[in-house]
């Protein structure tokens, strides 16, 4: 199956702030994304068709079609970090724990430049961390993550799935599968992106003493 030409990618945006939802929606639509916005992590999970087992065993999260009985295809999730109830980090974790949703790239946004927070999210598997207010230049970084995931989908053999489940924080230097190497190099890129993101054209004060754990 070849890459569908110019079909719109669907982004799910999660933010409790109405203004921010409006802004991110416009930014995404201007970049030709199809957009769904929700105001909480739990609504996001509902939209994604993720239902939690009553035993709260995280490995039992399963995917069901949503209320319309249509399977929703979401190509990327962008979520605010600070939200009441379920934070963006909590949402990220739940997505990465779900065997059916973990391959959807997740991007975190935050109004606060807290390096430990940024690192935590990237370690948990977030592709990018954007500082708010989000700009066009940030949105331009999204398509590559979607494309990368799509091509990974085509390559991934079934026996790699087990290895991915056991995958530790992608800083280890043991013998690695192509998937782990890809994940690791993409983590390097993430951190670079984060540092590159601290560019002088932005007028907010930036944290310069970021400690990057090198791989």
């Amino acid at each position: 199956m070849g890459m569908a030409a110019e079909s719109q990618f669907h982004v799910l945006a999660v933010d409790d702030s109405l203004i921010d939802r409006k802004l991110i929606e416009r930014l995404l639509k201007n970049s030709s994304f199809q957009v769904t916005t929700v105001d909480s992590g739990s609504k996001a999970l509902e939209f994604l068709g993720l239902l939690e087992d009553d035993q709260s065993n995280r490995n039992q999260l399963s995917v069901s079609p949503n209320n319309n009985n249509q399977v929703v295809e979401v190509n990327l999730i962008i979520t605010d970090y600070c939200m009441p109830g379920m934070t963006g980090y909590d949402l990220l974790k739940k997505i990465k724990e779900s065997s059916s949703l973990r391959d959807i790239p997740v991007v975190i946004m935050s109004s606060e430049n807290v390096p430990s927070r940024i690192n935590r999210c990237l370690d948990e598997g977030a592709e990018e961390f954007f500082l708010k207010p989000v700009r066009v230049s940030d949105v331009n970084k999204l398509k590559p993550h979607i494309m990368k995931t799509k091509s990974k989908d085509h390559q991934k053999p079934e026996n790699e799935e087990k290895q991915e489940e056991e995958e530790a924080a992608p800083k280890t230097k043991e013998v690695q599968s192509p998937q782990q190497q890809q994940q690791q190099s993409s983590n390097n890129n993430k951190r670079k992106t984060m540092e590159e993101g601290l560019s002088p054209d932005r007028t907010r004060p930036r944290y310069n003493g970021l400690t990057v754990v090198s791989n």
């Binding site: 702030s17 203004i19 409006k22 802004l23 416009r26």
Partner: protein
């Protein structure tokens, strides 16, 4: 040409708000998101911001009026207002929120009240200017719509 004059007037007005520190570059980003398919985007965002700000300022007053101030709740609301201010590019509002947050961290009620007064003051100024700005946007939009009608051969709408 009248349209150019209207636009120059708007630009000059926005520039003065920038010069006074009321707006920062984020507002320019918002303006850039407005186009023919979304001609009211700026006005809509301004409206959302003002509704949000009014609501939060009311809540802040409520919490500071209590004999036992719940600084945790206060902080949560200030955080929201700071976020909205930042998203629309309302620089002075954002800074006023930072002041209130600090005062709230210190659990200093007196300082909080002062900081809230400052927020209200900045909001009043900003809201006034935004009103003027939106009026200018409306005039430009009406003019441009009228032009389009004329060009497509319909009777002009008087502005």
């Amino acid at each position: 040409m009248a349209l150019a004059a209207l636009k120059a007037q708007l630009n000059g007005f926005v520039k003065s708000m920038h010069d006074e520190g009321m707006l920062d570059s984020q507002f320019t980003q918002i303006q850039a998101l407005q186009d023919e398919s979304n001609p009211n985007f700026v006005a809509e965002v301004i409206s959302l911001f003002c509704d949000d700000a009014k609501r939060i300022i009311t809540e802040l007053h409520k919490y500071l009026d209590q004999p036992d101030v719940d600084y945790h709740k206060l902080d949560a609301y200030v955080h929201q207002l700071k976020g909205s201010s930042s998203s629309i590019g309302a620089q002075r509002m954002k800074l006023a929120c930072v002041d209130l947050r600090q005062a709230s961290d210190e659990k200093n009620k007196e300082r909080c009240l002062q900081a809230l007064n400052k927020i209200m003051y900045e909001y009043c100024l900003l809201q006034n200017k935004f009103q003027t700005l939106v009026q200018m946007e409306k005039r430009i939009f009406a003019y441009e719509s009228n032009q389009q009608l004329k060009e497509s051969g319909y009777a002009g709408v008087s502005t």
